[in-house]
């Protein structure tokens, strides 16, 4: 059934302050977005899907590749005449997409990277490259990716074998558990 409305725009406004009604679809965001060519829906299209207010279009956004490709480089909002904070909208949609398990399959690697990154922080408090890569490979099964890179990095002294642990690891773990979604 089409045209069932969702009230995500109210929630979006409450949590991020973004009012999608303000967008008049000028396209300046998409014009300046470096990732737009690779996205399935460029930024202004994403905002328009949300403007329609239907559940079906909201789903399209949650299932899109666009939200995972956006790098929050802020080029769009820096030029937007209506100062619409698209990166915040993207963050909100990303979190929501994971919560409703609607994330795009094409974004599997990107999400795996984020998850591995956060795991490193959870256990060590810092970015531990080896742990990150191992976790990433385990999640994605890209076992041979960047294999040639590691020895070179190690030779240049850029790869630490052992992580530097935060002393108050308990504090870090608590932060993670308290913000768990």
């Amino acid at each position: 059934m089409k045209n069932i409305s969702s009230n995500v725009t109210d929630e979006l406004q409450a949590q991020t302050g973004v009012k999608v009604e303000r967008c008049y679809q000028c396209g300046k965001c998409s014009a300046g977005c470096v990732l737009a060519e690779d996205m399935d829906y460029p930024p202004n299209y994403i905002i328009h899907l949300l403007q329609t207010g239907t559940k079906e279009n909201l789903d399209t956004v949650l299932k899109s590749k666009s939200i995972w490709l956006c790098l929050n480089c802020e080029n769009c909002v820096g030029r937007c005449p209506m100062e619409i904070d698209i990166p915040k909208v993207m963050d909100f949609m990303r979190e929501r997409s994971l919560k409703e398990n609607k994330q795009s399959k094409a974004a599997k690697d990107i999400i795996a990277f984020h998850r591995s990154f956060l795991d490193c922080i959870k256990f060590t408090g810092h970015l531990y490259e080896i742990g990150l890569i191992v976790g990433f490979k385990a999640r994605t099964m890209h076992l041979w990716q960047d294999v040639k890179l590691a020895p070179k990095m190690f030779a240049k002294g850029k790869l630490k074998l052992f992580p530097e642990m935060v002393k108050d690891s308990h504090n870090i773990k608590n932060i993670f558990s308290k913000t768990k979604k």
């Binding site: 396209g27 300046k28 965001c29 014009a31 300046g32 737009a36 930024p43 299209y45 005449p81």
Partner: protein
């Protein structure tokens, strides 16, 4: 013995929804001095007014109190009604039961009680009122028009053709304004200068118009019908009576590289210059800031070569004092320059230009004689990108409004380009096409359908230069927001229309209102578009908001009619609600002691000195006297006067105390 009539209006439901009007009328009928008290649904309507007139006649009323909307709405209406019934209009007072009572309170006992108190208050005032007669003030039947663009030219001609004297002042060396900079005008593609210059000449030759160029308003005092203006005639350094306009001086002037304002910075001019060949008057002025003589004390070549010895250095500015009855402000607008836009290069790319600069390129009298050429290398561009809405409709840049004329002139520019460069490609990046005037839509369609201009719906994110080309990164929202990249030879930005330089200072000098964008404010946006809130000062043209030529000319003629209307009366009738210094019998003559604190206080310079003389002509005492033509009835003098010798007619101390006492006794 007072016989006051009380009329309580329901104002439809505006008052009666929260105030019990019937009860108010009943309570008031019991008040001492009230001879007649009723309520009615619409007092200001025809039957309502008839009711009042009948009551005045039948009951021989000596005063009337109307409980209604704000006096700002209908005080005039009701006073006229009373006058028609033979009652002095200033014996009619309004109790504001709407804005001061029903609109701001909930329905209930307290609200009705307040309404009763308000009406009772005004009844007590009326008991102290005196009949007053309007003041007649002579009108100076001469108008001042500030700004010599098409609006000022039109207004001046219209007023002058009605037989009145006009002084037209223009701050640039020539009249003509932005219209003289245009190449062709939409939607007719008329040559702009061809239709403008005849009017400019007409202004110069009209017997009723005195034209001062290179002149600005220095100060203005007085009020409607009686303004006293001081005009600063900036020193031109050239005697117009001797100068024949031969042009020898500018051809010899060594300072040749000054960016020309008329060519929007694209061409150059000399320090002694005539802004453009069709200038009116066609006499040069010396730009002191760039002249070798004024800056360094050297040169004077122009003086040496002038065949009629017309050059006069070191003359001071002249201050000219004039009395006028009305002022029309037609100071026009400006457009943003390219350095306003960070994403389009901060103004550093020579081939990114504004719409106005494109006009100069397209114009036959421009720096490239009408050929579209790149400012950087003089080549003819093969691909031009026009960016609409550059700065307009952009709250992030502080300009949320639409500049109205850009969609039309962008279509025009693209068409002119295609006409001049047949194998050229033009692209217009737009958001909406606003073509609401007569023949406007057809004009834009012509650009798209006949001249092959490509319209892309989307805005341009940025422009940068690479290898002599301008890379334009835009988007096509009709294709889902797909990025569009064009390698252009030239980019024309349709920059936003903004208020003119010095607009704020001028508005403050004249005491007229302006908005946050420094555009001058009209008295009412819909019903009074050519008047300001300051009586006697009128507006027309783009100084109010960006405007096209048809609307500007309409407005100018409208303002002219207001001026002619004002001048068609023999005397200006003013309300007598002004200050008066008391007079009494000799030997006192007046309680005024002549301290003139009131004169210091008066913002309108309305207090004069009056010498009271005896029969021999010796001065007995000098007291204050109010000039009825200037006094605005603000009451500051009344507050200052320590001997209580000055009072406002219609709002005397006695009347005001009566109101306060009534309120306290309730």
């Amino acid at each position: 013995m007072s016989k006051i009539g009380v009329f309580i209006c329901h104002c439809g439901e505006n008052i009666s929804a929260t105030v019990d009007c019937q009860r108010v009328a009943e309570e008031l009928s019991k008040v001492d001095g009230v001879a007649y008290s009723i309520d009615y649904k619409y007092m200001c309507s025809d039957p309502g007014q008839t009711l009042i007139k009948q009551a005045i006649k039948e009951h021989n009323l000596t005063g009337v109190v109307i409980g209604s909307c704000s006096p700002r709405m209908h005080e005039l209406t009701f006073r006229k009604t009373c006058a028609e019934a033979g009652l002095n209009p200033y014996m009619c007072e309004i109790a504001n039961l709407r804005e001061h009572c029903s609109w701001v309170h909930e329905k209930g006992e307290a609200t009705t009680e307040k309404a009763i108190s308000l009406v009772k208050m005004l009844v007590e005032k009326v008991k102290k009122d005196h009949p007053l007669t309007s003041i007649q003030v002579p009108i100076t039947k001469k108008a001042l028009v500030i700004g010599g663009g098409i609006a000022g030219i039109q207004a001046s001609l219209d007023i002058a053709n009605c037989g009145h004297q006009v002084i037209l002042i223009e701050k640039d060396p020539s009249i003509g304004g932005h219209m003289s900079q245009l190449s062709e005008t939409f939607p007719t593609l008329d040559c702009s200068q061809c239709i403008l210059t005849p009017r400019m000449v007409e202004v110069a030759q009209h017997p009723n118009i005195t034209l001062y160029t290179y002149a600005e308003l220095d100060s203005v005092e007085g009020s409607i019908g009686n303004f006293h203006v001081t005009i600063r005639l900036k020193a031109k350094s050239v005697d117009p009576k001797k100068c024949t306009g031969c042009g020898t001086c500018s051809s010899k002037c060594p300072q040749k590289k000054i960016p020309s304002e008329f060519n929007a910075g694209l061409g150059t001019r000399t320090a002694i210059y005539v802004p453009f060949p069709q200038a009116v008057p066609n006499k040069p002025v010396i730009d002191k800031e760039h002249c070798n003589y004024y800056q360094k004390g050297k040169c004077q070549l122009c003086k040496k070569v002038c065949p009629t010895d017309a050059i006069e250095f070191d003359k001071p500015d002249e201050l000219l004092k004039e009395d006028v009855g009305a002022i029309v402000v037609t100071t026009g607008f400006n457009v943003l320059k390219t350095d306003f836009f960070p994403e389009y290069g901060y103004g550093k790319y020579k081939d990114v230009i504004t719409g106005l600069q494109f006009e100069r390129l397209a114009s036959a009298s421009g720096p490239t004689l009408g050929e579209i050429r790149r400012p950087s290398d003089g080549q003819i561009p093969k691909k031009i990108v026009f960016v609409a809405c550059a700065g307009s409709r952009d709250p992030a840049k502080g300009i949320p409004y639409c500049s109205k004329i850009c969609c039309m002139y962008t279509a025009k520019h693209a068409m002119l380009y295609q006409h001049k460069v047949h194998d050229g490609e033009s692209y217009v990046f737009y958001m909406d096409v606003r073509a609401g005037g007569k023949n406007y839509e057809e004009f834009v369609r012509r650009a798209i359908e006949e001249d092959g201009v490509k319209y892309v719906r989307g805005r341009v994110a940025r422009v940068y230069e690479k290898d002599g080309k301008l890379i334009v990164k835009g988007a096509d929202t009709l294709l889902g927001g797909a990025p569009v990249e064009i390698e252009a030879d030239m980019v024309v930005l349709a920059t936003a229309g903004v208020s003119n330089n010095g607009a704020e200072q001028l508005a403050q000098k004249m005491h007229i209102s302006y908005d946050s964008y420094k555009f001058f404010a009209e008295a009412h946006p819909k019903l009074r578009p050519v008047e300001t809130n300051t009586a006697g000062i009128f507006l027309a043209g783009a100084c109010q908001a960006p405007k096209d030529i048809p609307d500007t000319v309409s407005g100018a003629s409208g303002a002219a009619v207001k001026v002619a209307g004002l001048f068609s009366q023999s005397m200006l009738v003013r309300e007598p609600l002004i200050a008066v210094v008391n007079r009494c019998a000799p030997p006192l003559f007046s309680t005024c002691v002549g301290c003139f604190m009131c004169e210091t206080a008066c913002p309108y310079h309305a207090i004069e000195h009056e010498e009271i003389k005896n029969r021999n002509g010796d001065v007995i005492k000098t007291v204050a006297k109010v000039n009825p033509g200037l006094c605005q009835g603000c009451g500051t003098c009344v507050a200052f006067c320590r001997s209580k010798s000055i009072d406002i007619q219609g709002y005397t101390n006695e009347e005001m105390y009566a109101e306060v006492v009534s309120l306290l006794n309730n």
